[in-house]
């Protein structure tokens, strides 16, 4: 990893960080800030999940547990103990990481733990945590935690701007760490573990240590992002925090985007959130889940490597298609909101990406191989 990468991330961060300032100048609705906050939130969640599952191959159904622990750590500290909000965030991450380490210590010690059992185990942990939270009065006790009157850092601007900027920072950090891991020894070791753990061990990869490390990092960011999100949720309750949404979405986003590369979950997050948001606003909520379920099935069956991998082979075609469909809508005045137009362009892009390589090559000649 060279110095160019951190700089690039910083650059993207600065650019995106300018948006709130731009909003004041150009006066476009705050909706866009909120929308992007959610994209950042999901990018952080999906990236953190993928660091563990995508890189190491240990499939986790427990994202809900680590995210939820983060949410409730912040909520409890801030509401019940008058803790400073900003200071509670790293603690939210650390608490989640400690939970993860506990699970990992119990689980990774077992030599013959099959992948499916790990998945079920993490699901069970999530359910246990939810039950504990619901029963322990100091945390929730079934009453929920109201965060409406919580003092938040004013130096970052107003409420939406503050959420946006913090969300951006956390997402950037998470995705950068995912990038860094992928290009490091840790990453190569994890990929080896994913492909063949016994052989990896035989070659000297410290499998237990690496799995614990990536688990801790993954949980830390899940919790960190969750802590911030507590403020967004406002009224924190067990049913809304520990439901199937977070674990489901991170799985889908990573599978859609691609699990082998750090950009996969980010792309998946952007696409799924955009589509989901548009369905909600069009009052087609039930369609939301049906489309998502179908998408999951289609991706698993037909595009196992995810969108990003395919995208890499059809870069120019895909970019041109996306820009083209978007331009047609914008110039032709079709559709009211920019986000809806983007969503349509995304759907068009996904549709073309489903075309199998064999057919694509016959139509458009040799696919581009990335360097």
């Amino acid at each position: 990893m060279n110095w160019r990468a951190p700089l690039a991330f910083l650059g993207v961060g600065l650019l995106l960080g300018l948006l709130p300032w731009l909003r004041e100048r150009l006066d476009f609705p705050v909706f866009y800030l909120v929308f992007l906050y959610f994209v950042f939130f999901w990018a952080a969640q999906a990236s953190s999940w993928n660091m563990l599952t995508g890189y190491s191959g240990y499939f986790s159904f427990g994202q809900g547990a680590f995210y939820g622990v983060g949410v409730y750590t912040t909520a409890t500290l801030v509401d019940k103990f008058d803790f400073n909000f900003l200071a509670s965030l790293p603690l939210a991450g650390v608490t989640a990481a400690l939970l993860g380490l506990g699970v990992g210590f119990a689980v990774f010690r077992l030599r013959k733990l099959r992948g499916e059992l790990f998945a079920l185990l993490t699901l069970a942990v999530a359910l246990v945590i939810a039950a504990v939270v619901r029963n322990v009065d100091i945390i929730d006790g079934g009453y929920g935690v109201p965060l409406g009157q919580v003092p938040y850092p004013e130096f970052l601007g107003d409420y939406s701007t503050m959420l946006y900027l913090l969300g951006l920072t956390i997402a950037l950090l998470t995705v950068f760490v995912a990038y860094a891991i992928q290009h490091s020894r840790l990453g190569q070791g994890l990929f080896a573990i994913r492909d063949d753990e016994a052989v990896a061990e035989g070659l000297g990869v410290p499998t237990f240590r690496y799995k614990m490390i990536v688990l801790a990092i993954s949980c830390f960011f899940a919790g960190l992002s969750g802590g911030l999100h507590a403020l967004q949720i406002n009224y924190v309750a067990v049913e809304s925090v520990f439901n199937i949404r977070v674990p489901l979405f991170v799985i889908l986003m990573s599978i859609l985007g691609g699990r082998r590369h750090w950009l996969g979950p980010v792309i998946g997050a952007a696409i799924i959130h955009t589509l989901s948001d548009r369905f909600s606003s069009a009052r087609l909520e039930f369609l939301n889940q049906i489309i998502i379920g179908s998408l999951l099935i289609v991706m698993i069956l037909f595009v196992r490597e995810g969108i990003f991998a395919r995208l890499q082979r059809r870069v120019w075609f895909s970019l041109a298609l996306f820009a083209g469909v978007l331009a047609v809508q914008v110039l032709g005045g079709i559709g009211e909101r920019l986000i809806t137009q983007i969503a349509i362009a995304m759907l068009a892009l996904i549709a073309t990406l489903l075309i199998p390589d064999a057919v694509y090559q016959r139509l458009f000649g040799r696919a581009r191989i990335p360097c």
Binding site: L121, I244, L248, F286, S294, L296, I297
Partner: protein
């Protein structure tokens, strides 16, 4: 004391229902190497159909099984056919059925709304009616579901151990290639087994509809408990599923009786975690693990 005694009885009875729902899952997982999360959706769907048929057509809830069981049997066959056609392996099946699960949940919500639907007493006169054995109440519907569970477990064990198809399936589960070399037709047996599992889900779903009523999110409420039963009982073990169902049922109810109801799921999940860590092959496993 009486509280605990009652809890024991209730626990055993509901354990039967757990077993019924778990047997289908444990069979397909253990023998077909398919982790079918949509198994729960099938059951709840059957529950909804039971509700609908009783309420709209005045059918006796028990008789609705004549409709739902064959219907879901076909669904099970269809699902397995799909898996074979797309060469879905164990892990993919988990994700694919996950997708199916959320699709079905959405469809059920769209069709029947999110309301909690339960068959009215007019159509279901046995609702809430109990036999009294001394100081203990034995709800008739739960008793019926327990008896159904006994029948189903017995039937399954007979099928697996006494019939040719059953033995063939057990052989295939152990070593597919060798069994195939002996001329065992995998496809037909697999389709039948999947259909049977779905049929069992239909039976369980009918009782769930009669006793508890249904909501779209019911499927996910039953999921963790049943997985605990499956793991505890051991894969592909019909007797194990039945026995584990009762163990968990009793643990659940006794915990509720002794402390408060919120602790019961906690205890179940902790049991599940311990089972996964200590004896992943199930409490009743007879073969030694690899």
């Amino acid at each position: 004391m009486q509280l605990i005694g009652q809890a024991l009885i209730s626990g055993i009875l509901i354990g039967g229902l757990y077993g019924t729902l778990a047997i289908g899952l444990t069979l397909t997982w253990g023998m077909l190497k398919v982790i079918n999360l949509s198994h729960f959706s099938f059951a709840i769907l059957a529950g909804y159909l039971t509700y609908q048929l009783s309420t709209t057509f005045g059918m006796n809830p028990f008789l609705t099984m004549l409709v739902t069981v064959p219907l879901l049997f076909l669904a099970g066959v269809g699902l397995q056919w799909f898996f074979e056609a797309f060469h879905v392996d164990e892990f993919m099946s988990l994700l694919v059925t996950f997708g199916l699960f959320i699709i079905l949940e959405s469809l059920m919500q769209w069709f029947w709304t999110a309301d909690h639907l339960i068959i009215s007493r007019a159509q279901n006169p046995l609702l809430g009616v109990s036999l009294w054995v001394g100081p203990f109440a034995v709800p008739i519907l739960q008793l019926a579901s327990f008896l159904a569970a006994v029948l189903i477990s017995g039937l399954t064990m007979y099928l697996l151990h006494r019939t040719y198809t059953g033995k063939a399936l057990r052989a295939l589960a152990q070593d597919r290639e060798i069994a195939g070399a002996f001329g065992v037709d995998y496809r037909r047996s697999a389709l039948l087994l999947s259909g049977l599992a779905a049929a069992y889900a239909a039976v369980a779903g009918a009782f769930i509809g009669m006793i508890y009523g249904v909501t779209p999110s019911a499927a996910i409420e039953w999921l963790p408990v049943i997985f605990a039963v499956v793991i505890l009982g051991g894969l592909a073990d019909a007797f194990g599923a039945f026995a584990a169902g009762m163990i968990i049922g009793v643990t659940n109810h006794v915990t509720s009786a002794v402390s408060d109801a919120g602790m019961a799921p906690l205890v179940t999940f902790v049991v599940l975690i311990l089972a996964l860590l200590l004896k992943p092959e199930g409490l009743f496993a007879r073969r030694s693990s690899e």
